[in-house]
Amino acid sequence: MNASAPTDSMAGLDSSSQDDGDSTRSDAKRVPALVVEGMSKQFGTDTDGVMAVDDVSVTVDRGSVVGLLGPNGAGKTTLIKCILGIVVPDAGTVEVFGTDIGDGRRAVYANVDAMLEGARNDYWRLTVRENLRYFATISGVDPDSVSTRHDRLLDRLGLTDKAETPVRDLSRGMKQKVSLASVLAGGAELVFLDEPTLGLDVESSRTLRQELRRLAGEDGLTVVLSSHDMSVIEDVCDRVVVMADGQVVADDTVAALVARTDRDIVRITSPSIDDGVLASLREAFDVLGVARDADGTRLEVVAGGDELYDLMAHLRDAGVTLEHVRTVEPDLEDVFVELTDDAGGLGEPAEDGWSP
């Protein structure tokens, strides 16, 4: 890593603050890691083109982990590639640690690295350590000066035993870890991870998430992580930027996003809900889903506050025997579906047997 960005940002401070080391550091810390303003990218022609990224503005504070969530084709990867300059945007500016990358100052990239979806990102014919050394150099750091850091990185990611093994001989989960390690090898302070857990088994995905949390928490790494896996986002991210159709449709903490949804859902199981009762329920309430099986009928009904009393009264009046009643707390996935209006976009099938 090169501390070029902090140095740049400090250069802009007045002399009084430069006299005070602590305040200088805190001022430098206040410069966001990433500021994206008005980013747009259209693929194809004006008439039949696709607006992949549409006037997106995002700010990422230092040391934070921001999730980029959206259905397939929402523009997450294009946004990341535009920020990195791998895709040339039609409009918009990007500042990394206070420096505009549009100035053609490649040195800014010394603080940035990325792990892109579906790519190897490293050389499979080189060993794990050779990859770390190569990519540290490429990102502007003398590899000999960070060999201790590489040892530590390998240790943390459980790769020490495999350090001298060619990457091609490792399992998929291990390869993904090497990819992450090679991204961190140069000491980038801002890293973009595009679908880092894609294709990993449950255990590997869990380990990778733990490591990401630890790196962000202990090392103050700034991470922008795109995923369409809710659990990854919920586990790792301080904040979520939800994208749909190339636009940002929400930008908040996971807790705030979940809290702002006003849907209180009640799940009812009963052996005695017939079509007539169901029809009357549909008339009076917002019935989200119905499933029938040998045990009876399961319903999901939107009912918060007074509506809950009304629902219970309605069921009692209809002579319905309740076998099971449970309130369903909305989770990130519910919020996501509400925001993007795309229940099928996550690639996850709806719960078996449920129909609206």
Binding site: M1, N2, A3, S4, P6, T7, G21, T24, K29, K41, A52, R62, K81, L84, G85, I86, V87, V88, R106, A107, V108, Y109, A110, D113, A114, L116, G118, A119, R120, N121, D122, Y123, W124, R125, L126, E130, R133, Y134, F135, A136, T137, I138, S139, G140, V141, D142, P143, D144, S145, V146, T148, R149, R152, P166, G187, E189, E218, D219, G220, L221
Partner: protein, 291 residues
């Protein structure tokens, strides 16, 4: 800021890699991360090429075997058809074939390398480096040329033994003339690599260009002097005079050497410009790394 203990803090004055390139003086402390200079970049790129060459010799050996197989076809088949005529011109054929294997090696290694890097997603990482892709690409080119010289030297040795031919092999002259001759082909390799990034399906067709090198190597530079401005042609004529007639580097005229250098640099720069604009267009279209 990455806060491992051996990592420099934000208060430490640091220089960017480009600063380091301008001021190669090492930093004062040795216990923190130091900026990489172009020396480190050169070492890293060449070492990677070396590792892959020695660790996976099958590619190099395969290339040598294929080259020798085609030469055997040419030599024994030609002797059956042309008899004495072929034997009389065998020196010229060997020199031409040697230059052709060098050209094919340099061209295909760089264009295939670019295609592989795109597929692996490693090309993007070189584009987002503080050094930029140009120095990395040029260093790769140097490594490919060195590697190609090693394999073609083996092919040359076997050809000389099999045919019982003697050639003038003054190393400095041969390496300089042949090296500059294939530098122009390296430029074509960059251009082809760039075009492949943009139009992936064209890649295989561009490999056919290798057979066009035969025409360039045997271009009639005396009858049609303008062909000297094409890649390989002028260098090929000079290499014939070097290896067959024993002309040394310093015995060539300045004009001849100047033209050799100008053609090499011209096509290399031209090829790199095509590569640069092709990848730039790929970035605009969003197809770079569209694997």
């Amino acid at each position: 800021m990455v806060a491992v203990t051996d990592w420099e803090g934000p208060e430490t004055p640091a220089s960017t890699p480009s600063d380091a390139a301008a001021q190669p003086e090492p930093a004062t402390t040795t216990d923190g991360p130091q900026p990489a200079s172009y020396y480190h970049l050169t070492r890293a790129v060449l070492y990677r090429e070396y590792l892959i060459f020695v660790r996976y010799p099958a590619n190099a050996i395969g290339g040598i075997v294929v080259s020798l197989f085609f030469f055997a076809l040419l030599f024994y088949g030609g002797r059956m058809v042309a008899g004495q005529a072929l034997t009389d011109s065998i020196e010229g054929i060997i020199v031409g074939y040697f230059l052709w294997t060098l050209s094919v090696g340099a061209y295909s290694s760089i264009s295939n390398d670019i295609a592989s890097e795109v597929q692996w997603g490693t090309l993007e990482r070189h584009i987002t480096t503080p050094f930029g892709f140009a120095p990395v690409a040029l260093l790769k080119g140097v490594a490919k040329v060195v590697r190609t010289f090693l394999t073609s030297a083996v092919v040359l040795g076997v050809m000389l033994v099999v045919t019982g031919t003697r050639l003038q092999l003054e190393p400095i002259t041969v390496v300089t003339v042949a090296g500059l001759a294939i530098t122009s082909v390296l430029g074509l390799g960059f251009a082809a690599g760039g075009i492949t990034v943009l139009y992936k399906q064209i890649g295989n067709w561009l490999n056919l260009l290798q057979f066009g090198f035969i025409v360039l190597i045997s271009a009639p530079v005396f009858d049609a002097p303008w062909t000297r401005f094409l890649p390989l042609a002028h260098g090929s004529a000079m290499l014939q005079r070097t290896m067959v007639d024993g002309v040394r580097l310093w015995e060539f005229g300045l004009g001849e050497l100047g033209l050799l250098l100008a053609v090499a640099v011209g096509y290399l720069l031209g090829g790199y410009v095509v590569f640069h604009y092709a990848t730039r267009r790929a970035r605009r279209l969003g197809v770079l790394g569209d694997y």
